[in-house]
Symmetry: C2
Subunit: 212 residues, 2 copies
C-alpha cells in the first residue's frame, strides 16, 4: 500500500508531462490545462511544486532537457576513437529516429529557437547546456588530435561549434520536410563530413577501395 501523497512522484509526473507538452507545442504553446488533464494533478498542486509556468519550464530544461542532451554527447567522448564514436552515433540517430521524433525535432533546439530571444532566464539555462556540450566536444577534439585520430589542420573550437550546429540543423530542417529523405541525406552528409576530419592518411585507407 502506497501513501496517498507522493510529492516526488507528483513532481516527476508534472515534469514528464510538461516536457512532452512543450516538445509538442513549444513552451508558450504548452497549455497548463493539458498537463493537468494528462497527469490528473490539480492546478493547486502544480503551483505548489513550481510557482509559475516559467519556473516549470526552467525545471523541465534543467531536469529533462539537460539529461536528454548529455545522454547523447557524453558517451561519445568516452569511446576510444571519437570520430568512430561520432559516426556510429550519427548512424544510430539515423536508424532510431522515428516519424514522431522527426516531426517534433530536438527538444533542446526547439526551446532555443523559441525562447532564447525573448526570455533571459531561458536563454541562460539553455546556453549553459550548450556551453557544456561545446566544452566537452572541444576537449574531445583536442584529445583526438593528440592521439592522431583527427587531422591537425582544423581548429577544434570552430569544428566543435560547427558540428553542434550541423547536428541540430539536420534535425531541425527535417521538420519542414514531410519525408525522411531530407534527414537521411543530411545525416549522410554529416557522416561524410565527420569522415573528412580524420587525418588524410586514415581517410585514404578507407577511400582507397572505392577508388580502385
Amino acid at each position: 500500500m502506497q501513501p496517498r501523497k507522493q510529492p516526488d512522484r507528483t513532481r516527476q509526473q508534472l515534469l514528464e508531462s510538461a516536457f512532452a507538452e512543450i516538445h509538442r507545442n513549444g513552451f508558450r504553446g504548452a497549455s497548463l490545462e493539458t498537463i493537468l488533464r494528462e497527469t490528473g494533478v490539480t492546478k493547486g498542486a502544480l503551483y505548489h511544486h513550481f510557482g509559475s509556468k516559467a519556473k516549470l519550464g526552467l525545471a523541465v530544461i534543467e531536469e529533462m532537457v539537460r539529461p536528454f542532451v548529455e545522454a547523447n554527447w557524453k558517451p561519445v567522448l568516452e569511446e576510444d576513437n571519437i570520430i568512430d564514436a561520432a559516426i556510429s552515433l550519427t548512424r544510430r540517430l539515423t536508424a532510431e529516429r522515428n516519424d514522431f521524433a522527426l516531426e517534433l525535432g530536438c527538444p533542446f533546439n526547439n526551446l532555443i529557437q523559441e525562447m532564447s530571444p525573448i526570455d533571459e532566464d531561458f536563454r541562460n539555462a539553455l546556453n549553459a547546456i550548450l556551453q557544456d556540450w561545446r566544452d566537452g566536444l572541444v576537449q574531445g577534439l583536442k584529445c583526438g588530435q593528440q592521439r592522431g585520430e583527427i587531422r591537425q589542420d582544423i581548429c577544434p573550437e570552430a569544428t566543435g561549434d560547427f558540428i553542434i550546429s550541423a547536428i541540430e540543423g539536420c534535425v531541425g530542417m527535417t521538420k519542414a520536410s514531410q519525408s525522411q529523405a531530407f534527414y537521411l541525406n543530411a545525416m549522410q552528409g554529416l557522416e561524410q563530413y565527420l569522415e573528412q576530419l580524420r587525418p588524410v592518411c586514415a581517410q585514404d585507407q578507407i577511400r582507397t577501395p572505392k577508388n580502385s
Copy 2:
C-alpha cells in the same frame, strides 16, 4: 496629393510589420494588435486584406520569407565557381550579421521550427521554399562536379541537404549563445567544410602554403 485609400500600400505595410513581428515573437506569439498599432491600420482593414491570422502568416511566408531566403542562395548559383561563391557568402554573412539578426535568428528557420509540426498549411508553404533551395543547390553542386570545381566522391543530394542544415544550424544555435563567439566559430567551421568540398588537388594548392 495622394489618394486617401491605398490598398496596395496598406497591404504591404501589414506584410512588413507582420514579418517583423513574427520574426521577433514567432507566429503564435505575434500579436495582431501590435501589428495594427505599428502600422496605424485598423482591424477591419487587416481582415479585409487577409481574412485570418493564418492567411496573413501564409502571405508573409510567400511574399516576405521566400524572397528573403532566395535572395541569399540564388545569386550563389550564378557565380562562376560555386565553392568560391558559397565561401564568400559565408564570409559576408559572418561580417554583416549584427547583434539584432544573431539574436532573432533566421525568419525561415524560426517558422519551420515553430509551425511545421503543428500546421500543415504552414509546413507545406515552408517546405516548398526548402525544396526549391534543395533543388537549386543540388543542381549547382552537380554542375560544379562537372566543371571539376567539386570533388567527385561526394553525393550532391547528401551534401546539399547537409549544407542547408549546417547554415541554418549555425544561425539557430547562435541564438542560445549571447556572444558572437559561437557564430564566428561555427561559420569558420562551415567555411572549412566548404573548402574540403574542392577536389583534393585544388585543396592542396591552398593548403600547401600553410604546411610549408
